[in-house]
Symmetry: C2
Subunit: 234 residues, 2 copies
Amino acid sequence: MARTSQQTTWQSVRDEVLRRIQSRDWKPGEPIPHEADLAREFGCARATMNRALRDIADSGLIERRRRAGSRVALHPVRKATLDIPVIRIEIEARGETHAYRLIECALEAPPPQVAARLNAASGQAMLHVVGLHMADGKPYAFEDRWINPESVPEALTADFTRISPNEWLVLNVPVEGGDITFAATEATAAEARALECRPGAALFVTKRTTWRGEARLTTVRQLFAPGYGMKTLI
Amino acid sequence: MARTSQQTTWQSVRDEVLRRIQSRDWKPGEPIPHEADLAREFGCARATMNRALRDIADSGLIERRRRAGSRVALHPVRKATLDIPVIRIEIEARGETHAYRLIECALEAPPPQVAARLNAASGQAMLHVVGLHMADGKPYAFEDRWINPESVPEALTADFTRISPNEWLVLNVPVEGGDITFAATEATAAEARALECRPGAALFVTKRTTWRGEARLTTVRQLFAPGYGMKTLI
DNA sequence: TCCTCGAATATGTATATACATAAAAAAATA
DNA sequence: TATTTTTTTATGTATATACATATTCGAGGA
C-alpha cells in the first residue's frame, strides 16, 4: 500500500546503509543483516531494499552472494566512472573551437605491436591515419590511428580531411567493446613538432582498441599536449 | 504470471535493444518506443523493460527524460569504470611483494596549492607524509601526501613506518567522496632518485583529494615508475 | 575421513498494480 | 501576442507476491 505522505525511497535506505558502513556500525569484512530483515527494519518492501543494496554493491562497498548474504567489503575498491567523450565535444564543451588537421592517411603494413592489437598477420596492410586535434588553433592532441580495413571497409573511402576519424568512426561503426590504457610517455621529435612542445616533454597518452564480436576494428594512440589532465569524481 | 518455461529476463531485453541501436535500426538522436510499448512487444512487464533501459542509460547509450521519452544518444559518451585499488592490493594481485618505505613524516605548512585543495589557510600546519611503494623490492610508486589534522586528528599518532598512510586511511577514515586527476609529469631530481629513473623521465601521476561532508581529509600525489599503465575496459 | 547429495536459505528477478514527478503540450488568461 | 495555468504523459519508484538459482550446510553413505 503506497502512502502519499511518507514513502521510503531506495535512496534514503541506501544513504542510511552507507552511513552505517561509514560510521563503522558495520565493519569491513563483517556481514550485514539480510535483505528481508533490513526491509522489515526500514519498513519498506524487499524490492526496495534490494535496489538500495544492489546500488551499494555496484559501487564496490559491499559484496553480495546468494545464500551467503552481504558483507562490507574488506578492501573497498574505489570505482571511478570516467567519461571518454569524442575530442571535438570535449573541446567544444570548454567553449573552444575544434579543428582537425590530417597529417597522414595511407594503407600500409603496421608495426608488429599494432598488428597484434588488431589480431592480424603482421604483413597485412592497415589504414594508417595520423592527425592533430586543435583547440582554438593550439595543438590539443596528436592522434595515431590504425583501422582494420577487413572489419571497416567503408573507412577506405572516407574523407578524413573533412571529418576526424575519431568522429567518423563514432557515427559509422557500431562498437561493442574495447580496452583503454592510460600512461605517460616522452614526446619524440616528430610528436614534439606537432604538439609544439619540447622533445622529451612528458605527455599524457591514451591507447584504445575497440572491437565488435571477434573483429578488431581500430586501435588508436592519443598524445595530449603538456598540461592536459583527465579529471573525474569518485 | 510467472511461467516456469520461458521467462523474459531484463538482460535479454537489454541485449535486443542494444542490438537495435548497434544495427542502426534506431539511429543516434532518434527517439525509441516507449517503455510500455516495448514491454508489450517483448511480452514482459514494464518493470522489466525499465530495468533494461535504465541499464542502457547508465552506460550512456540512450538518454531518458520524464515525459519526453528515451532517445539514442547522439554522442555516446563512452563510460569506463576504473577500479582504484589500494596500492598494496594492486601489487599483491600481480603476485609480487609489497613494501612501503617512509621517507618523511612531519607537521609543516603546505604550499599554497595544497592548502587550497584542503580548503585551509596557507599558514596552517598539515601532516606531510612522503614514502615509496615497492613491488618485489623495485620502486613502484612515489607517494606525497598531506593529511588535514583538523579532519583526521588520529593521523597524528599513527605509525606510518608500519603501515602505509594509504592503507591506514582506508581502514580508519570513512570517506564520502573525492576527485582524481590523471596526468603526466617529468621526474624531478629527488623523484628520479627515489624511483631509480632518469631525471626528466615521463611519469604517470594521479592526484586525489578526498572529503567527508565539508571536511577535506587528505590530498595525495602518486608518481608511478616508468612503464606503468592504467588499464580498463569499456 | 571423505565424498555425495539433498535441504535450506539469501539473493536475484519477473509481474501486476498503484502512485509520484518532471516536463511537454495544450488551454486559458492578460 | 505573451504569459500563466492546467492537463497530459512517459518515466521513476514502491509494493506484494511468486518463483529462480547459487551456495552453504548438514545428513547419510562409502
